[in-house]
Point group: C2
Chain length 161, copies 2
């Protein structure tokens, strides 16, 4: 598995991953019926942000985007988002993508990384982020409407470098 910057020919596979993830409504506060153009605008970062893919040959196993979490006086803290292709789960793709994002943010001089809305029922993600050094700063109760679990909390997670 290799992680590299996204290129145009990756997009159909990246969009397929995004489309599947948002349609399930289990992990992202994105519009579940977002179109391809909107997805591209949200997921493909402009500088100083970066979008990457985890690939094995021509197959995109997952994707991440990273950049400043806020503008102006908040731009020294980074953020990142990750999506893994359904059939590639359990193979450490998310871990690799998160490690890459942390390395990018540290190398770019950010003071830390913040996740603004981690669905508390998404144990795979919460456990992974904890393992890589993130702590839950706080949880907004019931802020995520899960299709089967009902309203669950959204964690704000943070790691200082």
């Amino acid at each position: 598995m290799e992680i590299r910057e996204v290129i145009e020919s990756d997009w159909p596979q990246v969009w397929a991953i995004i489309h599947d993830v948002v349609r399930r409504q289990e992990t992202f506060t994105y519009d579940p019926v977002m179109g391809e153009g909107e997805a591209r605008g949200i997921w493909i970062e402009r500088p100083p942000g970066v979008t990457v893919v985890a690939v094995e040959g021509d197959r995109v196993l997952g994707t991440a985007k990273m950049g400043p979490n806020r503008a102006g006086p908040g731009a020294h803290v980074s953020t990142a988002s990750f999506m893994v292709y359904g059939e590639a789960r359990g193979r450490g793709v998310g871990t690799k993508l998160c490690e890459q994002a942390l390395g990018w943010a540290q190398g770019s001089g950010y003071a830390g990384m913040q996740f603004n809305a981690v669905v508390e029922s998404n144990r795979t993600a919460v456990d992974l982020y904890r393992r890589l050094g993130f702590a839950v700063i706080g949880t907004v109760p019931g802020a995520f409407e899960h299709p089967t679990l009902g309203r669950v909390g959204l964690h704000v997670m943070y790691q200082q470098f």
Copy 2:
């Protein structure tokens, strides 16, 4: 003082308030050199969001925007932002705007209101939000670069309805 939806002829005064607030870099994680077009795009909400002004005659004393905090499975929680004209501070304009936003969100069926990035050194705002029922859910340490105080925390504040 009256609170009503913003109209086109309010914009020059609203923009003057935004321009002054972001230039000071004490309260908002907005680009301090944002242009008028970007400010309009950020501040003037599209449905279901609303932008209002507090006015006295033709004078705009402050402005607020409100809407869903997130998309999709997060759209049942509202958010809002407030700016008060420098010379109108200390007259309860912020309180009136926040009360109006809470009334709007409750009347629109939202489950609560979340503020994502309240600068902890902005005591006027933090105290006002507490007085109106918000609690600090968590604080991201050092996430705001204040021009004189250095790095201060950003509170996530929340109120369930």
